[in-house]
Symmetry: C2
Subunit: 355 residues, 2 copies
């Protein structure tokens, strides 16, 4: 718990003086006032995060945390649990959605086993993934807590440690997830934190039908009723209805915030992690960039709760960090606007008429 406490205690929010300086520079660029809209808002945010007028965002990494979920025993997903491990192999072989999109973004990928049911030791030994396995999958939240409180702390600290270990080599992080069943855990978290009923924040995940969705909602209702998680206590919430990969995502966000590095939060599962992180340290939100609005029901409510406006809305619902990878180019574009566009004075362009 020491690392977690130290990290939380050392997160300070955005720097208003750098935000003001960035705003002032952008106000003078050779274009109508604030004509690049959200790219300019983003540039201001980046300066406030990094305390510099030239934020570095070149060295990009998506960290994909994988884990299994005991709640799969309730048949909440369309896919069998073995797919979690199979997809880790797919990541390692470069054949998944996140591989294609990270490649296009010029981002590295790190895959972390937080609790995949199957053994992935050989991949870890070969250095192809990082193993921070807590145990082979959480317990079934429909009958009891997902994990013990000390396991929850371990999961979050794993994410913090990964951020810290990358502090010399990475400028900007993206969060990613893989775990059959994890929209169920995430919907439970979102329901508890937002106060919305499970049916209002539960989506079809991998593509279940309406009857299966009703069943999934009833499983989440049961999980919340049985475990009675504390909405304001992130670790309790994580332990009772979360997942190991969700805890690690929360940790990566806290670690990035502590390092004053931007962290691009992907979709529904990553945002559940962000809700946990924000419960532990509200200031960490200042370092989050919301990549996209997922097609998964409940995501918009989760983002609203965090006060985040997503950059993209492309009807995506894959996870893996795919939205985060896609948003990285927009972040680089925002920095390009800030650092490469000339001011009216520099370019000798006439300003707006005084009337």
């Amino acid at each position: 718990m020491r690392l977690l406490t130290d990290t939380i205690n050392n997160i300070t929010g955005r720097d208003e003086s750098f935000r003001a300086a960035a705003t002032s520079r952008l106000d003078g660029l050779t274009m109508p006032h604030w004509a690049l809209g959200r790219l300019m808002d983003l540039a201001v945010d980046l300066c406030g995060m990094t305390r510099t007028m030239r934020p570095r965002v070149e060295r990009k990494m998506v960290v994909v945390f994988a884990s299994d979920h005991g709640v799969c025993a309730e048949r909440v997903s369309l896919y069998p649990q073995e797919v979690t491990a199979q997809m880790v192999h797919n990541f390692v072989n470069g054949g998944a959605g996140i591989n294609a999109l990270a490649r296009r973004a010029g981002a590295d990928i790190r895959v972390v086993d937080m609790g995949v049911a199957e053994s992935l030791e050989s991949l870890a030994t070969e250095g192809k993934i990082l193993s921070r396995k807590i145990r082979p999958g959480t317990s079934n939240i429909a009958v009891g807590p997902a994990m013990k409180l000390d396991e929850a702390a371990l999961a979050v600290e794993a994410g913090i440690e990964i951020a810290n270990a990358l502090s010399e080599s990475i400028d900007i992080f993206g969060t990613g997830d893989m775990g059959i069943g994890n929209t169920t855990a995430s919907a439970a978290i979102v329901s508890v934190v937002t106060g919305l009923a499970p049916r209002e924040v539960t989506g079809t995940g991998t593509g279940i039908d309406q009857a299966q969705l009703q069943h999934k909602i009833s499983v989440i209702e049961r999980a919340v009723a049985i475990n009675a998680p504390e909405p304001a206590d992130g670790l309790d919430l994580l332990a009772k209805v979360g997942g190991f990969e969700i805890g690690a995502i929360a940790g990566l966000i806290l670690g990035a915030a502590r390092l004053r590095r931007p962290v691009i939060v992907d979709g529904f599962i990553s945002t559940a992690g962000a809700l946990i992180a924000a419960t532990l340290s509200p200031s960490c939100r200042d370092f989050i960039i919301a990549a996209h609005k997922s097609a998964e029901r409940g995501h918009a409510a989760a983002l609203r709760r965090l006060g985040l406006e997503p950059l993209l809305d492309l009807n995506m619902r894959l996870g893996e960090g795919t939205g985060a990878a896609l948003a990285m180019n927009l972040v680089e574009a925002a920095v390009g606007v800030l650092t490469e566009v000339a001011t009216f004075t520099e370019a000798g362009v006439s300003r707006a008429d005084e009337r």
Copy 2:
């Protein structure tokens, strides 16, 4: 007119067999069904445009057409007319918004003088811009037509010729514009084609206030009333209330469609050009990718009219092709999904449970 007629006659729409083959491949990728949403829709579109399962989109160019507008005499813009030429110099010197964003997208820029009031001969002689100047600015649409009908045809043909000249070296085009006063001409075009009143499709352009906006609307109302352009006749419409750069944008779109190359249409002015192009050849719409929803009022209505759904919505309203440049990464990402992601069979991942 020969080139225009030949081009229009040789545009055929999307190829359904390649669309079907792309859909079939994407259906089998290792992810829940269609989980990358609009990226997958876009991949299907690209295959239908290019008649290949591996659309090439690496060699990218934004063509920025610059021209002046006689309607500036009515004081419709916040900026003096000289800014058009000054911004061309800024493009050449690499200091404008489009330079920063094209650089990030890995796209080249070509700047074309279609009718800038000031002489830009030295830039053209040095090869820094292309000169296709029709004359130094259109006539004032508030008192008569913008140009003669044969000038309108010349403007469109200039755009077609540029597309043709780049056919060996460019895979995908982006449209861009520069011209103080061109939101006035564009709003007139959008009003006539959509049948919406000028006040419903006229925005604040470079940032005029409400009183100036009322004035701008009245100028557009006058221009439409005096010239009575024919909504279904693109050349008549262009001649009466358009602009040289708007005509060239229409031509670039037609030329790209004839070459079966995708063309990313930027914001409000470019979409006015697309409306002209679609009047001349409805099938050209199959080759258009709408980059973003501009903050300029009237843009959404224009896109709706064309049946286009924009990829981005970032509160931008700069023009220059900035939205098109920003969308290029999304197009490359779509191709990456199509060509680099493994299928369930290839990756040995279990499919959804049969229930």
